[in-house]
Amino acid sequence: MAKTLVLKAEIRERTGSKDAVRLRRAGRIPAIVYGHKKEPVAISVNAHTFVEGLHQGHRLIDVQIGSKKVKTIVKDVQYDHLGKDIVHADLMRVDIKEMVKVSVPIELKGTAKGTHEGGIVEEHADHLEIECRATDIPESIVVSVKEIDVGDALHAGDIELAEGIKLVSSPDTLLATCHLVAAAKTTEELEEEAPVAPEVITEAKPEEEGSEEEAK
């Protein structure tokens, strides 16, 4: 059962980047509530409460707009250029019994067999699209990599999901592989491979010039 967070929101009368910047300075996050074929509502929520809720794994949020309470899920979050602060959030209206499509992070657990033979586990995908009830959204999908040997791969189809959760991503989605690491090239080796000077595409080649003159 997903945890529910109650957030007090204020309707944004004025939208636009300048007003959004002012809101962020005041410790709030601009957000939007949409879905269920109703008009979207531009709101702002307390940044600290929202971020803390996300860190605690809340996906279901009860947004209190005035005297109304709207059940939503966090559909998308935008970060700043450094990936530090949240600049905007998308909240989608949901019904408790409704099936929703969400992306859930994958957590690789355990030490792979192959690592004892000098291999490393490479993570190819960090989240999976699933379909489940709004109240049953898992915080993360734990995948055991214990059985992976050198040269083996783990696909989305290999994971056993809990009851009531359906995989939306392609079952062929590559999640993790275990492989040996090739020795890194030394600077000398790279220098040997690298060209002394790059080839210039637009530069006229002397042979072509000669042939053109002959043609004339």
Binding site: I120, D126, A184
Partner: protein, 139 residues
Amino acid sequence: MAMMPKRVKYRKSQRGRMKGTACRSNYVAFGEYGLQALESSWITARNIEAGRVAATHFLHREGKVYLRVFPHKPVSSKPLETRMGKGKGEPEFWVARVRPGTVMFEIGGVTEDVAKQALVRVAHKMPIRCRFVKRRHSL
């Protein structure tokens, strides 16, 4: 010679400006941990190579190092004791343009502690302030 493109359209380029912040290449995409630039700067091919050597040397073939920047831009300079004029100088070295937020190096297949130690060594080779970042899982 260090890293440089194999083919280019023009041999020399103007200096240009580096305004704004990184809108792309600003998240960890391949490995699990990364080194993010906090300032805008030219990162020379030598800087990149020094960082790569520092990381691979520390990791001892344990993890995998990803380079997320490539020196595409030629920088020319005039020889010493030359009078001004007589055309643009010859290309001397190659640089990557880095803006605040760009993830320059990534490491995968090692623990967070090891990755942090390796990336601190890489950061010492960089001419700008950097920070250690982790891959963000979806939200």
